[in-house]
């Protein structure tokens, strides 16, 4: 009995009332979910329609839901930190707890919020934009999602079991080494990110092949919608950057688990090598999440200006340049490491150069709006907010790229303000815009405009109130990751203002949740399938889209294919003869991805606690899943013509 008690006291995180509260909330929520599913007899439905699905649209929805949950958790972390910093010498959070919170906030927001939200948008939009019926590898797509999901769960569970990681979002050694960090938190970090990282890598491969090989006939590369281009450039960066992360984390794990000396202080190891490697992934990573944002902006600006995108070719060129150039700037994250002047000069210049293609894009959006017939529904508002915010964020980035000046800015709140401005101003604004823009395509009804505008204004104003003071605080000498400061520093007024801004953004999030609930409750079905008067192929389909997407694969010969088609119809040109339907070849659902990802979770959990009895069966399970898949040959089926006709008739009825 005592041994069980002793085990439980180390296995579970104890001693903090906040965490006990969370324990209760987690158990209650899980019980509620199980109860609802059982009471309404929805288990089979859940398994058949969602957990085993290989349909890109449903996988996309699951990504979005998961990432919004993660946004909630990351956001709560942020508000806890802002509360702690609101006044000097605050006793709200202990320093150790504060360390854990800023670590999980960073990891969750980048890897478990921005990335999956981005993958969700890839899934929801790209196949529809290019006239495909699914992605190139639907099975792999499902596997990617479940790897992300279980990776994220493994990371999150650390908060109630074993203890959270606390060495910062990139886990710099030697602090993250066993010697200084003997708990299991760092191992949760490694395995959570590792498992979901494999998923990200596979998504990258999947969408590259989808975009290069599965476009509708006639859609040449230079006729692709801009969002699809941006996804291609983002995926190219993913496939080259994520393997570096995989290796780097693996090496850190080998250090911790097998006592190797890659990044230790003794026996010839070099912690700087970790910093060098992690930023070779880390810098491209921020471009990975922001590139699709550029594509989203381009789609929305052109739709709501009712004009073709200005400078299509320069946009494509800028996207591709960034894909490659993002790999040549990583050392600007450690100018202060003590490299020679030649190294710092080189990376300062490359960093400045990469601002050029980014600037090109801003001009393209502005010129697209010039003389357009502009309207301002919620997605367009987010775009407006984005352009301003991102320009300022980009400019402060150029300031940071000046190596000598960086010695002042480095690790100060100036840096914090900068990267929040590009990541919130660039990524979050764009992804929110995308969610409201494509929502009617996915679910068949628009989100409430009024609440959406409230959410936007709260977010936008809250953002500036939160982060503008932080630039000043940085210049006043406030460094990142400090949990307490004294009255004598003179920082508290600005910190208080910043905290108020943070809570305004929290209110904006509540407005967004309210917006979604309200819109579901007072749903007005969109019968047109094209509520924004869109330009690209996805708007030619009924909403929600039938599971095979296109009854007949379209033929394309211009950039804004659907727009041109609408113009033709307006001119009264007769539509081409109705083509004969043919049976559609579709992939079958599969339970292997979720089981395999679960096995990874088990293996990861086993390694975290150094329980080989758990880790080895987990890995064996992974291998068995792979072999079972390799030996299964009946993975697809045909949808007969009469079923397509029925589905289309029903969809047309809705139209």
């Amino acid at each position: 009995m005592d041994r069980i008690k002793e085990f439980a006291s180390t296995f579970f995180v104890t001693g903090d009332p906040l965490i006990y509260g969370a324990d209760v909330a987690i158990v209650a929520t899980m019980a509620a979910v199980v109860f609802v599913l059982t009471y309404f007899k929805k288990w089979t439905w859940l398994w058949r329609e969602w957990l085993t699905t290989v349909d890109h649209k449903r996988i996309g929805i699951m990504y979005v839901v998961a990432s919004l949950l993660m946004l909630f958790r990351g956001g709560v972390d942020a508000l806890l930190m802002r509360t702690q910093l609101a006044v000097p010498n605050n006793q709200f959070l202990q320093p150790e707890h504060y360390n854990e919170i800023f670590t999980t906030h960073g990891v969750i927001m980048i890897l478990f919020m921005a990335m999956p939200l981005m993958f969700g948008l890839f899934n929801l939009v790209v196949p529809l934009q290019i006239g495909a019926r699914d992605v190139a590898f639907p099975f792999l797509n499902s596997l990617s999602f479940w790897l992300f999901f279980f990776g994220a769960m493994l990371f999150n569970v650390s908060f109630v079991i074993g203890g959270s990681p606390n060495a910062g979002w990139l886990a710099y050694p030697p602090l993250s080494e066993k010697m200084f960090n003997p708990g299991v938190g760092q191992d949760f970090y490694i395995w959570g990110i590792q498992i979901s990282g494999i998923g990200s890598l596979m998504t990258g491969i999947n969408f590259i092949v989808t975009i290069l090989k599965m476009r509708a006939p006639g859609m040449k590369l230079m006729k692709m919608p801009m969002f699809t281009w941006s996804v291609l450039s983002s995926c190219l960066t993913i496939i080259m950057a994520f393997p570096i992360l995989t290796v780097t984390l693996a090496l850190l794990f080998i250090d911790r688990y097998l006592g190797a000396h890659f990044f230790t202080l003794d026996a010839g190891g070099n912690p700087m090598m970790y910093i060098n490697l992690i930023w070779m992934w880390g810098h491209p990573e921020v471009y990975i999440v922001v590139l699709p944002a550029f594509g989203i902006m381009s789609e929305i600006v052109s739709t709501f200006s009712r004009k073709r995108l200005f400078g299509y070719k320069s946009m494509v060129f800028a996207l591709m340049c960034i894909s490659v150039f993002s790999f040549f700037t990583w050392a600007h994250h450690f100018f202060t490491m003590g490299s020679g002047a030649d190294v710092n000069a080189f990376f300062a210049v490359t960093t400045m150069i990469i601002a050029i293609p980014t600037g090109v894009k801003v001009f393209n959006w502005v010129f697209t709006m010039y003389r357009g017939r502009i309207s301002f529904p919620t997605p367009m508002l987010w775009v407006m907010g984005f352009i301003l915010c991102f320009v300022v964020g980009g400019m402060t980035g150029v300031m940071l790229s000046v190596a000598p000046a960086d010695f002042q800015f480095h690790n100060s709140y100036f840096l914090i303000a900068h990267f929040h401005q590009v990541l919130i101003g660039g990524v979050a604004f764009a992804y929110f815009a995308a969610l409201t823009y494509w929502w009617p395509k996915v679910f068949g009804f628009k989100l409430n405009e009024k609440l959406g505008k409230w959410a936007f204004w709260f977010w936008n104003v809250g953002f500036y109130i939160c982060f503008m003071p932080q630039y000043v605080l940085g210049l006043m000498g406030m460094t990142r990751r400090i949990s307490h400061y004294g009255w004598d520093t003179g920082w508290w007024e600005l910190n208080l203002v910043s905290t108020v801004g943070g809570f305004l953004m929290g209110i904006a999030f509540l407005f967004q949740v309210w917006q979604i609930m309200h819109s579901i409750k007072f749903m007005e079905r969109d019968a047109t399938g094209d509520p924004w008067d869109g330009r690209t192929l996805e708007w030619s389909l009924p909403s929600p889209v039938p599971h095979y997407n296109f009854a007949v694969v379209p033929t394309v010969d211009s950039r804004d294919a659907w727009w041109e088609e609408k113009l033709r119809r307006e001119r009264g040109e007769a539509p081409a003869p109705q083509p004969k339907l043919e049976p559609i070849h579709m992939p079958k659902n599969s339970g292997i991805p979720i089981i395999m990802a679960l096995c990874w979770f088990v293996a990861g959990f086993g390694f975290v606690f150094d329980w080989l009895w758990m880790a080895i069966p987990g890995l064996v399970g992974v291998a068995v899943c792979m072999l079972v898949y390799s030996f299964s040959y009946k993975t697809d089926y045909y949808i007969p013509v009469d079923e397509i006709e029925r589905t289309e008739a029903a969809a047309r009825g809705a139209v």
Partner: protein
Amino acid sequence: MAQHTASHGAHEHGESHGSLKSYVIGFILSLVLTAIPLGVVLNGWLEGTAAYVALMACAVLQFAVQLVFFMHLREEKKPRYNLLALIFGIIILITIVAGSIWIMMYNQVAH
């Protein structure tokens, strides 16, 4: 994926043809390119920088031999996405290796 028809497939692979002759030539070349560096190092044919250059040159040539004779990179049909992916991969590879060496080994402060 969805647009695939089952009857289709066999003729389009185009990646792995090649003849016995090309495989044999490739094999012989790779043996030679392995023997040369062995001679350089174990018998001391060359020293210093010359040896480095010879070793790396043989390795890179060997890589090319495998690509051309065994992996049939030249037979890819247009558009040559595989070749483009390879070139991109090699650029990043060189960036990682050369960049790390430059940053980590040739700066005086870090050591």
